[in-house]
Each structure stands twice: as structure tokens, then as C-alpha cells.
Symmetry: C2
Subunit: 252 residues, 2 copies
DNA sequence: CACGGTGTTGCCCATAAGGCAACAAGCGAA
DNA sequence: TTCGCTTGTTGCCTTATGGGCAACACCGTG
């Protein structure tokens, strides 16, 4: 809880009431009249009327002339978009990265989709001495990594030319890559087993907004000796859970 | 201008100040400190501090502990999404439909993309006695209408089976339809010249959100005798202008 | 260490805001 | 058409609130 909120700071009651009015309008599926808002907020109707007039003038609330009722105003959308544009995905995701690293015992990465590939922008390293090292700024190899397969599943493109075989397990046939990408899209997560590097296993899940646009990719990776079939299977649910929690920035 | 705002209603100055603080944070590209907000709003720093404390407690503002500065809070995103979910596209678009109908002298329609086609949900009829009649709920024929071509350009699918030739000008070869759809995507608007009906010409432009997802389609249509090559060309810019103005609901 | 700026909070006082009452308007039922 | 009820607004009064001053703690820089 923020320190500011816990202090004995004096609050502005009128602002509290105004926000309570906004909250009630947000909770309601339909427009509300002054008296109904007064009932739900336990604020006198004349006070509510004046609060609404002020909020309406500033665009946070809209008065519907036909019905005399009120609804949330478009200025809130503008303010919400402004709030969104300042969010640092890393800040929001970081607690989830820590939690997932703790749960799985492996290195957890956060990538963002770029133009040609997804790029690692944050990670929480495994506590183990033997760990899969992540590096910031490192692009993924789309066809050979779990992160890359999620990237492809959301419209990312493979580069032209032959696909490099990093290990014997690397999928280099474009048709088989496409099938792998289809699998990723269908089940909502990707895996790579010794495809980018011998002995390196990984899982990845998309972080999406309300329109299913890719905003980030959450990955878990570890050495095959520890992060094998069983451990990978166990990591899927928490991975999806964390990715969904992060996605809730956009979906509410 | 809303009647409520024009009355001699008494406003709540504290709420006005609080919103002024939100506005300043929205305008700024970076986090702001208490004193900076005080300077920009001409409100005493101690008042700003107390307003911020209240807004922070309600989540409309977030205090960044590392820097001591403030930014817009995630609750605004929730409120913005709630506001958005109650918006009726028709209400927002209607003034633009009227304006466009006035500018072009033709019938203007608003459609929303459905599962299999786009459906007319509002229109403003031309003032002319000779006009292209629109009907609410009428689905578009994707391959033969301007509205439909925009729908296809944003991922809509053609139905299976042969494409019906409504006139001699209807494009029924799937490859040519695809080319037409590509043109639509590239230039940002579609046209249909006597393809759905002899003597009926139309233009259409997409209404999109911040992620380029299709939220609606704005169309102009008229009889070829009046809405011919020259008039259509003249209607493109105002059509795009109106579609963009409506799109700003989502993009700010 | 000194200085300047930031951010918060105690305190005082003027006024803003809450709420009561009155009023106008609208709606539904008789 | 009339009546009763509810809604929404506004005049007005009272008082509690909130604005702002001053003081303080903290921080960064020279």
C-alpha cells in the first residue's frame, strides 16, 4: 500500500464524493439519475446534482438530455488512454515475473514484440547455480524459441531465406514452423525443447490487450536436466495465470 | 452545449481543482512533482499535495515512490473502459453523418462489422428527391459494396460458393475481389460503381480504434447521375475526415 | 556544510459546500 | 384533466471544510 495513502494526510472530502459518484456510474450497466446516484452514494441529492454539474462541465460525466440521466464521459477515456501510455510494462509485470520465477525455480523473461522479432526487456534470473542466462535487448529467433513462436502466432513474420538449424531439434521447414505456430495459437502458449540451444527448454505465453493485440510475451526457460517434460507441464498453468494477470492492465 | 453546463448551477471548486490536476498530468509526457503541478495549475502546493493524496487513495493518480512524483493512475483506465463500453457509436457518429450528408448532398450510412458481413445501423438520408435509400439492419454484400470491401479489408471473409453478379459490373472473380480489397486497404477507402445495383455508386471508409481494429464503416452513396466520378472524388476527403473524427473516440 | 528546492503538515480563518426546503417539471394512474 | 409521486434543481443558511501561510524535514548539488 502506498505510503502516501497510509499517512495522516488530510483528504479533500468533496473530491472523495465526486469519485464515489464516478464509481457508482462505472458499476452501473445503465445511465443513472441524480436521485439514484444519491441513494447509492448516501450523498444528498442536491450535493450530487452539484457534483454532477461540475464533473459534466469537465467532461468526466455526460448528461443525457433525452432521459435526464448521467453516464461516464468521454474525457475519462482520454485520461485512461493517457494513463495507459505512461505505463511501463516492466513495472507492472515485475511482481509477476518474481512470483513466476519463485514458483518455477527457473529464469523468467518479459519480451515485447518488435518489428521483426520479440526483444527481451526484463527478466528475473533463477536462483539456481545452473541457470539459463537471459540478456536484455536480445532478440528472439522466431522459429527456434518459445517467445518467437508466440510472436509468430500473433502476426509476426519469419525472415526471408533458409531458417537456421541451431540444433538437431530446430524446426527449419516453414510448413512445420507454421504448424507449430498454429498449435501455439490454438492452445495459447508455446514451447521450445532444445531447439535454440541443446539442453535449453522454454515456455512462453502472450500478454494481450482487450482486442487480442500482442503487448508482451512472458517466458520461462531452464536447462533440460531440471526443466524437463514434467517441470514444463507444471509450469504451464502458472505461466498462463501470470500472463493473464499482466494482461488485465488493458482489460480491466 | 449541454443545458446543465449553461445554467447558473453552483459548481464544486475542489472538484474543479482536482480535475485540473488530472488534466495537467494528462498533458505531461512525464511524471510530475507536487510543486510542478502547483505551478502549472496555479494552485498552492499544499492544496495540490492534499488533492493528490485524495486522488491517489482513489487510484486516479499514482505516487511513484522512487521519484516522489505523480502520474495518472490505473483506475482511470478502468473508468475510461467503463465509459467506452456505454458509448453508442450511433450517438457519437450522428453529428458527423449529418455533416457529411450536408457536404456531399448524398445519403450517408454507418455500419458495424458483424460476423459474416457489415450491417447498417444508422443513416442520414439525402435531401434530394432522388436518393439512394438505406435501411437499418440491412447487411452489406461484401464483394459488391463499398462498405463490404472495407469489411473484407479488415479481415472479413467472403462466403463460400460462387459470388453473385448483381449487375454487369459486379466483381465476381475472387482474385479480382482480392485485388479490390488490397486497393481498399492501401488507400484507406473503398468504392463501388454500379456493382450492387445499376446506377448506384458508393464510397466507404473504416472507423478504427487505436489498434487499427475495425469499429465501424462510414459510407456515402448516391445515384450515378448525381454521384458520378467527379462528385465521388470530391467526397473522398470529407469522408476520410469524418471517419477519422469518429475514430478519435478510441484514439483520443 | 550551506543553500535552494521539494513535499508535507499544523494551524487559522474565510468561504465554499452540504443539506434543508421550496419549487418546477414530468409521468402515470384514476 | 387532475392528482399524487418522484425527480432534479436551486435559494439560502450554517458550519465544517479546504485554501494557503509558515514551518519543518529531506534531498541534491556545489
Amino acid at each position: 500500500m502506498a505510503q502516501v495513502e497510509e499517512s495522516v494526510a488530510r483528504h479533500v472530502a468533496s473530491v472523495d464524493r465526486a469519485v464515489a459518484v464516478l464509481d457508482v456510474l462505472a458499476q452501473s450497466q445503465s445511465d443513472l439519475g441524480t436521485n439514484e446516484i444519491a441513494r447509492r452514494t448516501q450523498i444528498n441529492a442536491s450535493s450530487v446534482s452539484r457534483l454532477l454539474a461540475t464533473l459534466a462541465r469537465r467532461g468526466l460525466v455526460a448528461h443525457v438530455a433525452e432521459t435526464g440521466r448521467y453516464r461516464l464521459g468521454l474525457r475519462l477515456l482520454e485520461l485512461g488512454n493517457a494513463a495507459l501510455s505512461r505505463i511501463d510494462l516492466r513495472d507492472v509485470a515485475r511482481p509477476h515475473l518474481h512470483e513466476l520465477a519463485e514458483l518455477t525455480g527457473e529464469t523468467v523473461t518479459l519480451s515485447v514484440p518488435g518489428e521483426l522479432e520479440a526483444v527481451t526487456m526484463d527478466f528475473v534470473a533463477s536462483d539456481s547455480f545452473v541457470q539459463s542466462v537471459a540478456r536484455l535487448g536480445r532478440p528472439s529467433v522466431a522459429h527456434a524459441t518459445a517467445i518467437g513462436k508466440v510472436f509468430l502466432a500473433f502476426g509476426g513474420k519469419l525472415p526471408d531465406g533458409p531458417l537456421v538449424a541451431y540444433t538437431e531439434r530446430t524446426i527449419t521447414h516453414r510448413k512445420k514452423v507454421a504448424e507449430e505456430v498454429d498449435s501455439t495459437a490454438r492452445r495459447g502458449w508455446a514451447q521450445a525443447v532444445g531447439e535454440r540451444e541443446i539442453g535449453l527448454n522454454a515456455l512462453a505465453a502472450p500478454i494481450i490487450d482487450g482486442q487480442s493485440a500482442l503487448k508482451g510475451i512472458l517466458g520461462v526457460q531452464g536447462p533440460a536436466g531440471r526443466f524437463g517434460r514434467q517441470a514444463m507441464r507444471s509450469a504451464i498453468a502458472p505461466l498462463l495465470s501470470s500472463a493473464n494477470a499482466i494482461s488485465r492492465i488493458w482489460t480491466g
